[in-house]
Subunit: 212 residues, 2 copies
DNA sequence: CCATTTCTTTGTCGATCAGCAAAGAAATAG
DNA sequence: CTATTTCTTTGCTGATCGACAAAGAAATGG
């Protein structure tokens, strides 16, 4: 059996990983085909033959990012005994990844296409959908926490999920601005300081809004 | 006296404002000179004669953004009676601006150049410095709060300032993902729910870290 | 061996990029 | 009026953009 024709002269997975790192570092639109050929070590024609287009390559790179960087935080979220510990661990694992000197700082899904030309609006929507998975998974974990008794019923879980997702996105920006692991950990500690209040019977808005 | 030579045929302030809106919407690198000539209503040669270069124009646009969008939050921060109210109001005013349908969503300083080519690293540093002013002003307000007695002495004001700045940056991303004013308000409420704990005698890290 | 298939190399495509030179237009100074 | 100054319009520059066509190279099938 085997493969017909001339075999591929490069490692597809490795080349994709190099492309991911380049997109992660410079963003989608600011990464040129010349950048990619240099990073991947192959000619542009090989990229088109193997990945279809720059946009196709980017989408595959995002999926690789999700599979490699996103899996562990999600696992922690689900495996932890309580919703609080799950979200806390997910944030801390992400902090480790964001500040890992072996990879570009921050989160690729957050940083690589927040702005751009109207021609690439579809790509930005694609990334926005990926970003929406975070508060969605947080929310689901909180629901489970209510069922299992570690989260107070009546908690505004939509608000809590959106809040911690927002902190995570802010951490991605902080990483780009030079924040290291310990700095991000401190920020997470601050965010977790809200937990008890947020999961008390009264909702977050009714508890704080009247004061100002 | 008056001016010598042919007078300028366009309103410089208005043209700059149009440029600001375009950069704000699409980011620095993704805004082409063609986009700018269309938005500003003048030819590229006029832009170069009046603003020097695309980068110069962008820097001026950022300063206009700071003067128009950044002044009010800063004023609220300083004018409020307590540090808590000051930071809360600064966040809420920013939420209003981020979600204002009359301007692009989110914060120009956060969104317009988080990634890019190595050639524009200087511009990104410029924006990073502007971003650093936010936690810096929060920190100064917290210091004043300690002096005036509305913030508990011993509070880790660096951590608290970094935390609320991070939430603000996350809100900028949330705006891009479609979050409206009320959604942002809810997130602010959640962030403020941490205040009492964060300004209690024990530091944030010592209060929460041992639990996980 | 030869035919077929698949990948790589080389070269190049038209479009667009930021930027500017030169000429024309509109004001003031004398 | 003419001379000078300044801005606008027009048209262009070399570089770079993403993308691909054509030819050469390396494998399998028969």
């Amino acid at each position: 059996m085997a493969e017909r024709g001339r075999p591929r002269g490069f490692d597809r997975d490795l080349a994709l990983r190099q492309a991911m790192l380049t997109f992660w570092e410079h963003g989608y639109e600011s990464t040129s085909m010349a950048d990619l050929t240099a990073a991947m070590g192959i000619a542009s024609a090989s990229i088109y033959a193997c990945f279809g287009s720059k946009e196709h390559l980017f989408r595959e790179a995002v999926e690789l990012y999700g599979a490699t960087q996103g899996a562990e935080p999600l696992r922690c979220l689900e495996a932890s005994a309580t919703a609080r510990e799950g979200i806390a661990r997910a944030l801390r694992v992400n902090a480790d990844r964001f500040a890992d000197p072996a990879t570009p700082p921050g989160c690729m899904v957050v940083l690589s296409a927040l702005t751009g030309t109207t021609a690439n609006a579809g790509l930005r929507d694609f990334l926005a959908e990926r970003r929406a998975l975070v508060p969605w998974s947080f929310r689901r974990r909180l629901e489970r926490g209510i069922e299992e008794g570690d989260v107070t019923p009546g908690t505004d879980i939509d608000a809590v999920a959106a809040f911690y997702a927002t902190v995570l996105q802010g951490m991605a920006v902080q990483s780009r601005d030079g924040a290291g692991r310990t700095r991000l950990e401190t920020i997470i500690d601050c965010a977790l300081a809200a937990w008890t209040t947020l999961t008390s019977p009264r909702t977050a808005s009714s508890a704080t809004a009247p004061q100002e």
